[in-house]
């Protein structure tokens, strides 16, 4: 019996077939839960639709022109940017500071690391409710502590000027632990020999070592933290929902809360979709710029 000869082409074909078979489950999941909704949102942005009725009215770019001409949208966009500016640098620096502080600490290392990481694990809505208590005007512990120093009670969440700051404080508390873990991983990946070389070469002083050695070698972690926290920040919703409902007077209304409100409270699904598309473009642009500014993924 002679064995059937199979051409090179056959094997090439069959191996790429196997690759496709392996990829299929992941592609199916991504298609259904990521690609399809994305295009659906893009599509819905051109319609007026209440989210329930069978009929959808094609309105072209009306949703987009509408939002760009409304002053409300621009103030919401500004709120999102302000929220990002308040939370991202602070949680970046705090995460880095915690990581540097706990990097070589032997005492209570794991206890402290866990303590700072707990906020990340807690549900945002639950944590938001706890912070509402903490920020409470009459009985909150923060005003209670301030009163010990004879400071008058502050209306943390009820004041237009302070509500955004208060929500940001809670968000920083919530995300700093995550950044700390990323930075710790980055720090532990720096070989000890670089610091020993410094020591032998007489380059002493923690600031010098941080500036010339640690910070440059920590760059992959820094880029990751910067990019992810910006994305998280623009995507924030739960803490606003739990703490302020966008108030007072819309002072904490940010994009995702606006999308939810328009889509699921006012049933303006088309308009909400248009805002979602704007958010997507915004996040992609900011992420792209961040990558460019930090010199891309590799270039060490």
């Amino acid at each position: 019996m002679t064995r059937k000869k199979r051409s090179v082409k056959y094997y090439k074909h069959s191996s790429s077939l196997a690759a496709w078979m392996f990829l299929l489950p992941a592609m199916a999941v991504i298609s259904v839960f990521v690609v399809y909704p994305m295009f659906k949102v893009l599509y819905l942005g051109f319609f007026k639709w209440n989210g329930l009725s069978a009929s959808m009215e094609y309105t072209g770019l009306a949703n987009y022109t509408g939002l760009f001409y409304s002053s409300g949208f621009w103030s919401i966009l500004w709120n999102s940017v302000l929220f990002t500016l308040l939370t991202v640098p602070a949680s970046f620096v705090l995460g880095l500071a915690l990581a540097l502080g706990l990097w070589k600490t032997a005492i209570l290392k794991n206890v402290l690391r866990s303590a700072f990481f707990v906020p990340v694990v807690v549900s945002t809505v639950g944590a938001g409710i706890v912070w509402v208590w903490l920020f409470n005007y009459n009985s909150g512990i923060i005003n209670g502590i301030l009163s010990l120093f004879s400071v008058k009670p502050v209306n943390w969440l009820g004041s237009e000027k302070l509500a955004m700051l208060s929500v940001s404080v809670m968000t920083i508390w919530k995300t700093a632990g995550y950044n700390m873990v990323i930075f710790l991983a980055g720090l532990h990946s720096i070989p000890e020999v670089y610091y020993e070389t410094c020591l032998v070469d007489g380059v002493t002083g923690n600031w010098k070592k941080f500036y010339y050695i640690t910070w440059p070698l920590l760059r992959p972690a820094s880029v990751f933290v910067a990019v992810t926290t910006v994305i998280f920040s623009f995507r924030s919703f739960e803490q606003i929902y739990a703490m302020t409902r966008g108030g007072p007077v819309g002072s904490t209304k940010i994009l995702v809360y606006h999308i939810w409100e328009q889509g699921f409270r006012f049933y303006r699904m088309g308009y909400a979709s248009a805002v979602s598309v704007v958010l997507l473009v915004l996040v992609l642009t900011v992420t792209f710029v961040q990558f460019k500014l930090s010199g891309g993924r590799d270039g060490a």
Binding site: P191, V193, Y194, E196, T197, L199, V200, D201, G202, V203, T204, K208, Y212, I213, P216, L217, R219, A300
Partner: protein
């Protein structure tokens, strides 16, 4: 250039492991000393203690007669090349070399730095690589950069921790010669850690053989080879190492070779010091070991390695040139009394 004296050095780690045990060593000005020993013998720990990266548990380190036991590395005037080089990946070769000069204890002006780097990079043959980052260099080039970075500081003492272990055999042999040449050119006192006896034999002015944190012997390479101080040194140095026998194996061991321990004495003979005894040898100048079984043979072209046995003693014999000895035959061997060591 400074001299170094180590006095009764001890190092016990927190885990209780004793890495260095009562070690005393003196290193002369401009000397090239190799610390040689098997893995885990404490030689790297000892080097790190000299550098000031590990604290001595007890004992003292004197550099140029000054007690430096507790001093910071920079005060000791040492430079070090680490096993994995420790080149900063985010800096160019030039910046790597300039780093200590720019940010170290004594700030050097940029124009002096430039001149020094040019000079040293020529000596180390990396002058074409100054603008590259370490990742763009081959292993051998990285090794040279690490050496150049240490040398550009003009250190009195250069410490090298297995600097050639990451290179392939050909490059290793080449770099051995280069490092010795550079050392001679600059007159630096060098302490070089290795487990490779070929490196030690070819590079060292003196070799310190270390085992289990203790100094076994400290002497010039050929003295270590020909007059090993104890059985460990005898078997560790040489490839294959020295053969160790119970004295009873020999038919005519002279009294002069028997130490006070008497019949329990052990005798060492290097594989290449055996000759075939075909009669006519002077009984007073040679010792005889007759009726040796040849168990296996390796022909290496320029020499033969015989795996031989007499009674319970197994040993190796190295014979140069041609031979007609066959496997499983019996031969009579002899060795000059001058080449026999007793332990």
């Amino acid at each position: 250039m400074p001299d170094i004296v180590l006095k009764n050095l001890d190092k016990t780690f927190d885990s209780g492991f004793k890495a260095v045990n009562d070690l005393t060593l003196d290193i002369n000005d401009s000397e090239f000393v190799v610390l040689l020993g098997p893995s885990g013998c404490g030689k790297t720990t000892l080097l790190r203690m000299i550098a000031g990266l590990e604290k001595a548990s007890s004992g003292s380190i004197l550099i140029n007669g000054e007690d430096m036991t507790g001093s910071a590395p920079v005060e000791r005037g040492v430079a070090m090349v680490f096993q994995n080089y420790g080149l900063y990946p985010h800096m160019t070769v030039y910046d790597n070399m300039a780093f200590a000069l720019r940010h170290g204890k004594n700030k050097t002006p940029e124009d002096v730095i430039k001149k020094d780097i040019e000079e040293i990079s020529f000596i180390c043959k990396i002058h074409g690589q100054l603008d590259k980052k370490p990742a763009a260099l081959s292993g051998g080039q990285q090794q040279r950069v690490a050496l150049a970075r240490a040398l550009v500081r003009k250190p009195g003492i250069l410490l090298l921790d297995e600097p050639l272990s990451n290179l392939d055999a050909g490059l290793r042999q080449h770099m051995r010669v280069e490092i010795v040449n550079i050392q001679k050119q600059l007159g630096t006192t060098v302490i070089y850690v290795t487990h490779d006896q070929a490196e030690a034999m070819t590079m060292a002015g003196r070799i310190a053989v270390i085992k289990d944190g203790e100094l076994q012997q400290y002497a010039a390479p050929l003295e270590i080879y020909n007059m090993p101080g104890n059985e460990f040194v005898a078997t560790f140095i040489g490839s294959p190492g020295m053969n160790i026998f119970n004295a009873g194996v020999f038919d005519n061991l002279p009294e002069s070779l028997k130490p006070d321990t008497g019949s329990g004495c052990r005798v060492g003979i290097r594989p290449e010091h055996f000759i075939i005894n075909s009669g006519g040898l002077d009984k007073d100048k040679f010792i005889f070991i007759n009726g040796v079984a040849v168990e296996a043979m390796e022909a290496l072209g320029h020499e033969y390695i015989l795996y031989a046995a007499k009674g319970a003693d197994k040993f190796t014999v190295r014979l140069g040139g041609k031979t007609n000895i066959k496997n499983d035959s019996r031969i009579d061997l002899a060795a000059s009394i001058n080449d026999v060591r007793a332990f």
